[in-house]
Assembly symmetry: D3
Homo-oligomer: 226 residues x 6
């Protein structure tokens, strides 16, 4: 079981973003446990800003998955790009971090809110929620729409996210989903500010992936014996 | 972080059932990781057979939770009894294994099926699905309604569950939820038979609980620094 | 038919509350008609304030119902506590006053509003609406959250309820449900203030119970003749 | 209060049908209680067989209501024809028997079935259910589509309805609505055969109407005092 | 195919209104194409102001349709009055302009808004949306509720509609439906002001009717050959 | 207005398929009307068989749309691939043929059925229906899953489609959508066999596109005058 491998794939080409994903999932690595690695999609755009980006990474994601071996793949971008194509290309379980995050939110609360980096992401989040059939449980979604300077300034970014989370709680959210990867270092602070569970999507997916590979490893003999 | 504790509470008084829960979550324990323990509700009925049982365990569950310290409580019965009361009684995260299982199924497939031990459980499962807002994603639920002899005979029980899972797939399920605790040793075999992901509820909840405590532990300093 | 008996059960131990229920249903008693009585659950809490209370009364309600004879039982608390357990325990029809009230509202208007005594009740009301499948018809719910002095002051209580009802109408309610028992003496005044039907839940349940027992009594011979 | 009047309006011109309505509501009359009368719409068609009939009775219904005085009007045809127009024409409460019946069914069970006289009625019933927002709670609808001889033969009609009710229960109905007026004398027998509550629509509406007029009469003084 | 005929029926008796419909559909006439004509329902009320009006035109509409020959009938009033009755009366395709307009909006955007002439129309629009099953996609509806002088003053009417459309966009509408016939001359200006597609209902129905008759005409030989 | 141009884009590289689209929309061309042309996506796969294909055509579609001038673009594949990306890339209206077809079906009937060429298409159709919010109106979808020989044999293909359409009607469909392009020559025959409207998706989109460009052209002066 120590050989089990969970592969997060950052579908954009930003190494900084991959680093953020790696930091988010670090607490989910343990001695003797599954390896959790992060691959960067070199053919990807610098970020998934547009629908064009969203569609365009499916092909390279499929190619990467076909070239890799893992016990669980995770598409690590908060609009779950290419999910259906990757699932079609491999029998290995494939998770999307946004789906995992909103489902983790529903395990904690009746209704949830989403913090998006930019307004443009909202339509893709809505598509994912409608696909999951849980659009009605979205209390509200707030886009930060802040400048890159603000995002890179830890104090300003944290304050912007905390303000958004508090506003989502006022609009009925009993849990808050961080609608972008790479912000895990703010999670606990935003949760403390909001007073409700705050879900970081890479961590939600790491937990779900652990669930799959640990359950599978435990019964390999039983399965072989069938 | 090694001190984090996840406490599964079996709301019935059956030690055998607690043993089944313990076996299910064993793969989720690792050196240096959170402890995962199973408590048995002594005041509980031998099993949650009826609505009366379902309501009656809420009080004892609240008392137990108030007397224990944990970083995450899990109510380990596939109808999530007492969930709202327990959440009201503690600031600690509280999960229900059925909710966790169906949400894990939705992370893998469009529609899911449920295998119930007995017809009487279906109404409680339906209540939980309606609470979560995902009733429309239930492809079908099949009750085994087999004798205790069949259940205790490993080969017969496995065959009954595999037959049910295959039938659920024929009715549109892309994933199957085992609607009762204590059957984890059949999970892999049923999955192999059905050809779709099969979710054992204690394991789904163990993964979700790990997600909560590992994410929280990682950022304790950051939170303290706020 | 004069022997038919409708038994309202106040699941809290407050005699004052039972008195309010009795006053609410008084207009539904008539010579030669079914008796309508109100029992107080001695083992109940002083009021159903919490989820813990909500679960805890199920057992005593079942015991009371098993010890009584009636042609229709009514659980007279605006969160329908223990309904499933009581129904399971007796072949006699069992009604919940909140369900009856919102269904009566839907017979009069497209969308309805609910006046709750306290914010804590809203989650239980929402559970009931989701169970009934009519959550989408809730225009809004407003909690009074007033002090006990205000509630006991007839003029202040009436004004608070009238204000809430008018606000619900502004938010789209075509009928208003009083989300607590014991306020029947304000019903007509609130209705006059709001300009839309205002439903008192004990009265809605009394009407539904009359519907059951009068229909049943009429055909006893026919049924016997089958 | 003895002066309160509930007026059922049979929107077709059949005196036999009005007689059936009168028989259905007879158990709801009591000494000192509201009068419950049945008017026949002379301008109506012999029966509401078609959408054309459904629309055409609205005008005459409005005229009749404007010429009558009542404390509650009930449109006594199981497709609730003209309901919106009549409500628009009078400040007096107006009920439709089909709406009342399905709401009464929901007060008793999770899902209900409907027995229609003829296939052509199903579309009108579906319209009403969609208007109420409870289409998802319809387990199934079965049309008898029997000859008039069968309908008029008490034993044959009863057997046809009992067969339909049993089939509806097999398809998931926890209560059954008789989707036509004039069959109240079969209600108890069909209920005994089906083993679940069977709702006769005129009786459901009579109960709802009693709820309105008894609640209103009780507080006339209070209201006057405002 | 040049003989195909699309007949719009204005269900009110206003020649001015029929003229507005005629102007709206003028761009859909072309040499050698289907004739598109507008009939005025002489028995209709001056306008469909009330539910009474809505029901009352069904009978005369049926009579008119039975007396006419067409390849497609269109009921040209923005609450689709009499639609079910007319469909029942003829095998010829029958469209309602409101249904066509909201479905055309959904082909362009996730959510749409509706501009109503008067508040009273909103309930009828809501009925139609619920019938279509797309109520959840209505972002908002705004009633102009302006005086006749304003409506007849081109500049004032256009400004009122543009203001409403902009407000609907702010409330989430990605397309706007003009909820009344006869305002086609404002469509382009309102669309320019709102920045999202604006749908005129007669034009949406004209397009849908062309779709039916052109598709049908193309394959008449094939069909004959069956 | 004669200069208006509707451009259908076949997102696969099959000239035969483009020919089928051209034949389908031929009846929508008329002298002096908008030109209706069909472009073939050279970079596209031979057909949209997989999710991989579905994602992969978005980029080339965007490039093609940026290089072309039209008054309305139509993506002519029955799973509406790339729709969001193309809409993002141009201010020109963009339609998808599947969306247009199911919305046209809803303008004719309460519930519709879909005939798919292959089982693999069903998931993409379901995604589109969920996006539109009308999944609940799908009576059923049947995949032909026939060999290429059957598809190319006119008599066999027609019989297979007619059989499927009749089956969909038995399962509640009041209209049938042909879930693939290139079968327009069978439309009338299948409609005759099924007895309900049968919608060919390219024709439904052609009608919708005509609606957009004819409405727009009519008011160019008015818009200019703003």
């Amino acid at each position: 079981m120590g050989m089990a491998r969970i592969l997060f794939i950052n579908p954009n080409s930003s190494q900084a973003c991959s680093g953020g994903i790696d930091a988010a999932v670090a607490p989910f690595r343990f001695a003797g446990g599954p390896s959790i690695e992060v691959a960067t999609l070199r053919e990807g755009p610098p970020a998934i800003y547009s629908w064009h980006d969203w569609y365009s990474v499916a092909g390279p994601l499929v190619a990467l998955v076909r070239a890799e071996r893992a016990d669980c793949f995770v598409i690590a971008c908060a609009s779950d790009p290419g999910l259906a194509a990757v699932r079609e290309a491999t029998p290995t379980p494939v998770l999307g971090i946004f789906s995992c995050a909103v489902l983790a939110a529903l395990a904690r609360a009746e209704r949830f809110g989403v913090i998006a980096l930019a307004t443009a992401s909202k339509a893709r989040h809505l598509l994912a929620l409608r696909q999951l059939g849980i659009e009605a449980r979205l209390a509200a979604e707030i886009a930060l729409d802040v400048t890159m300077e603000t995002l890179l300034d830890p104090a300003l970014a944290r304050r912007a996210m905390a303000d958004a989370a508090r506003q989502l709680v006022r609009e009925g959210a009993g849990a808050v989903v961080m609608g972008c990867a790479g912000m895990a270092h703010h999670r606990a602070a935003v949760e403390a500010a909001a007073g409700v569970p705050v879900i970081e999507p890479c961590q939600a997916a790491a937990a779900a992936a652990l669930g799959i590979v640990l359950a599978a490893s435990a019964q390999a003999p039983a399965r072989a014996a069938e």
